[in-house]
C-alpha cells in the first residue's frame, strides 16, 4: 500500500498526497481506524517538506476523512467525506465532466477513455462491482 507524487505534476504536492490518500480510503485499502504514517516518516520517504504532509493531513481532517490525535498521529475516521452533504451530486458530476473533457481534448479515443474509467472504477470498487 503506497502513495506516489510527481514533482512535474501541476498540482501542489499536498494536493497529490490528499488525492492519493482519498483513493486508498475509497478503495478500502485504508480502512476506518487504520493509522497513517507519522508526518515525519511520510515527508522523509517522499522527500518533501514536513509542512506539506502536515497540510495534507489537516485538510483531510477538515473533510472528515482523518482524525488527528496529538501523540497518536492520524487515523482514518470515515470512508466518506463531509463533502457529500455540503456539495451536490451535480457539482461532483461537473468535476467528472471536466476530467473527461480534458481527456477527449487530448485526443484520447472514446474506447480508451472508457477503458480507463472502467479500470479506475474496478480499482475503487473491486472487480465484482
Amino acid at each position: 500500500m503506497h502513495i506516489s507524487v510527481d514533482t512535474n505534476d501541476r498540482r501542489p504536492i499536498y494536493e497529490q498526497v490528499m488525492d492519493e490518500i482519498r483513493n486508498l480510503i475509497a478503495r478500502g485499502e485504508l480502512r476506518e481506524g487504520a493509522a497513517l504514517p507519522p508526518v515525519r516518516q511520510l515527508a522523509a520517504d517522499l522527500g518533501v517538506n514536513l509542512n506539506t504532509i502536515a497540510t495534507a493531513y489537516r485538510e483531510l481532517q477538515a473533510e472528515g476523512l482523518l482524525t488527528i490525535r496529538h501523540g497518536s498521529g492520524a487515523v482514518v475516521a470515515a470512508r466518506t467525506t463531509r463533502e457529500t452533504g455540503e456539495v451536490s451530486a451535480d457539482e461532483l458530476r461537473r468535476t467528472l465532466r471536466g476530467a473527461l473533457t480534458r481527456m477527449a481534448l487530448a485526443g484520447m479515443p472514446r474506447a480508451v477513455i472508457l477503458s480507463a474509467v472502467t479500470e479506475e472504477l474496478r480499482a475503487l470498487f473491486g472487480r465484482g462491482r
Binding site: M1, V5, A43, L46
Partner: protein, 369 residues
C-alpha cells in the same frame, strides 16, 4: 620484520577497500553521484582506473617513506616507538586518499543525473516500539548493569593494582592503580555503547524508504527485509557486545579476587565466543545485504531510490549528507552500506554530543586515569 609485513598488508587492504567504495553502489552512487549506466561503462570506467592507479601509488609511496624513516631511525616494536611512524603514516594515507577521492568525485559530479521526479512511499508505519521486545530489553539492561554490581560489591577486596589488559590466553599482562576510573571504565564504556547501538537501531527504523513508482510493493518488501536485517543486527550486536564487555569488566574481579578465580576461564571463553560470533554475524549480514541490494537493483536500477531533493544534499563525493530541508535525520549511505546522518538536521547536534561523550569517557578513563 613481521610488523613491517603487517604494515604493508594493511596498506594494501586500505587501498583495496577504497578502490571498491566508489562503485559499491553501481551507477547510483558512483563517487557519490547518480550517473547513467552508459557513463559508468565508458567515461566512468576510465575515471575509475585513473583513481585506482593514483590511489595505490600514493598509499604505497607514503607507506614506503614511513617504513624507510622507521627503519633509518631504528624504531621497533621492542623500543615501543614503531606505533608512531605507523600511526602517522596511516593518518597521512587516509588524508591523501581523501584528496585523491575528492578529485575523482569532482570529475564525476558534472555527469550526475537528477533524482527521480516520481517517487512513492509506503503507508505502513514504522515505530521503534514495533521492533522492541520488553523481555529482551530487560535482559540487556541486566547484562549491562551486572558488572557495576559485581565490581562495586568486591571493590574493597580488589588489590592496589588491578589488571587492565589480558593476553590471548586471558592472563593479565598490564596493570594500573586501583581507582574508580580504572575499575569502572569498561562497564561505563559498555553502557555508552548500548546507547550508541540503540541510536543505530533507531536510525535503521527511521531511515527514509523512497520507493520507485513501478513495482513499489515488491521493492518495499525487499527494502524492509534489508532494514529488518540491520535492525536485528543492531539488537544482536547489543547483546554480544554487552556480553563481551561485561565479561571483560567482571574479569577485573575474577583475576584479582581468589574466591572468584574459577570464573576467569568462563570470562575469556565468552570473549572469544563473542568475537567469533560478531565476525560471523557481520559477514553473514553483509552477504545478505549485498544479495538483497542486487534484487532491488533489478527492480529499480539501484538499491536505493532518491528524490531530487535528496540529490541536492550530498557533498564531498557522497561522503557527507547536509540538507536542512530534509526531515530525515538518517539516510541511506551513498558510499558503502548502512546509514549516515543528515548533518543539516537540527537534531544532529544531540547525536554529535553523544559521540563526544564517548570520546570524553575514553579520555577520562584512560589518559586521565
Amino acid at each position: 620484520m613481521q610488523l613491517y609485513v603487517m604494515w604493508f598488508v594493511e596498506t594494501l587492504l586500505l587501498a583495496g577497500m577504497l578502490s571498491w567504495l566508489p562503485v559499491m553502489r553501481g551507477a547510483a552512487g558512483f563517487f557519490g553521484v547518480n550517473v547513467s549506466p552508459d557513463y559508468l561503462a565508458q567515461t566512468g570506467r576510465v575515471l575509475l582506473r585513473a583513481y585506482r592507479r593514483r590511489l595505490l601509488i600514493t598509499l604505497l609511496a607514503l607507506t614506503a617513506v614511513g617504513m624507510g624513516l622507521a627503519w633509518a631511525t631504528s624504531t621497533t616494536w621492542q623500543n615501543g616507538r614503531l606505533m608512531t611512524p605507523f600511526g602517522v603514516t596511516m593518518t597521512l594515507n587516509l588524508l591523501a586518499a581523501a584528496i585523491v577521492y575528492r578529485q575523482a568525485a569532482r570529475a564525476a559530479r558534472p555527469h550526475a543525473i537528477a533524482g527521480a521526479t516520481r517517487v512513492a512511499a509506503s503507508m505502513r508505519t514504522r515505530r521503534l516500539r514495533d521492533f522492541t521486545f520488553p523481555g529482551y530489553e530487560a535482559l540487556l539492561v541486566a547484562l549491562t548493569l551486572a558488572p557495576f554490581a559485581v565490581l562495586w560489591f568486591y571493590y574493597d577486596l580488589l588489590p592496589p593494582r588491578v589488571p587492565t589488559h589480558y593476553d590471548f590466553a586471558g592472563r593479565p599482562d598490564a596493570w594500573r592503580g586501583k581507582t574508580w576510573q580504572t575499575v569502572f571504565a569498561t562497564p561505563l564504556i559498555s553502557l555508552w555503547m548500548q546507547g550508541l547501538l540503540l541510536i543505530a537501531k533507531y536510525s535503521f527504523i527511521g531511515m527514509r524508504i523512497t520507493l520507485p513508482v513501478d513495482r513499489s510493493e515488491e521493492y518495499r518488501a525487499l527494502k524492509e527485509q534489508a532494514l529488518g536485517l540491520w535492525i536485528r543486527g543492531a539488537d544482536g550486536a547489543r547483546a554480544l557486545l554487552g556480553l563481551m564487555l561485561s565479561a571483560l569488566a567482571m574479569n577485573v574481579a575474577f583475576s584479582s579476587v581468589p574466591a572468584l578465580s574459577a570464573w576467569r576461564p568462563v570470562a575469556m571463553v565468552t570473549v572469544w565466543f563473542v568475537t567469533i560470533a560478531l565476525i560471523a554475524g557481520l559477514a553473514w549480514a553483509l552477504w545478505q545485504t549485498l544479495r538483497l541490494n542486487a534484487q532491488m537493483e533489478q527492480i529499480a536500477g539501484a538499491a536505493f531510490v532518491t528524490s531530487a531533493m535528496e540529490e541536492r544534499g550530498w557533498r564531498a563525493g557522497g561522503l557527507i549528507y547536509y540538507n536542512p530541508a530534509d526531515p530525515a535525520l538518517f539516510v541511506e549511505k551513498r558510499i558503502g552500506l548502512g546509514a549516515t546522518v543528515n548533518f543539516g538536521h537540527k537534531s544532529v547536534w544531540w547525536l554529535l554530543a553523544y559521540m563526544a561523550l564517548g570520546l570524553a569517557l575514553s579520555f577520562i578513563f584512560t589518559i586521565a586515569a
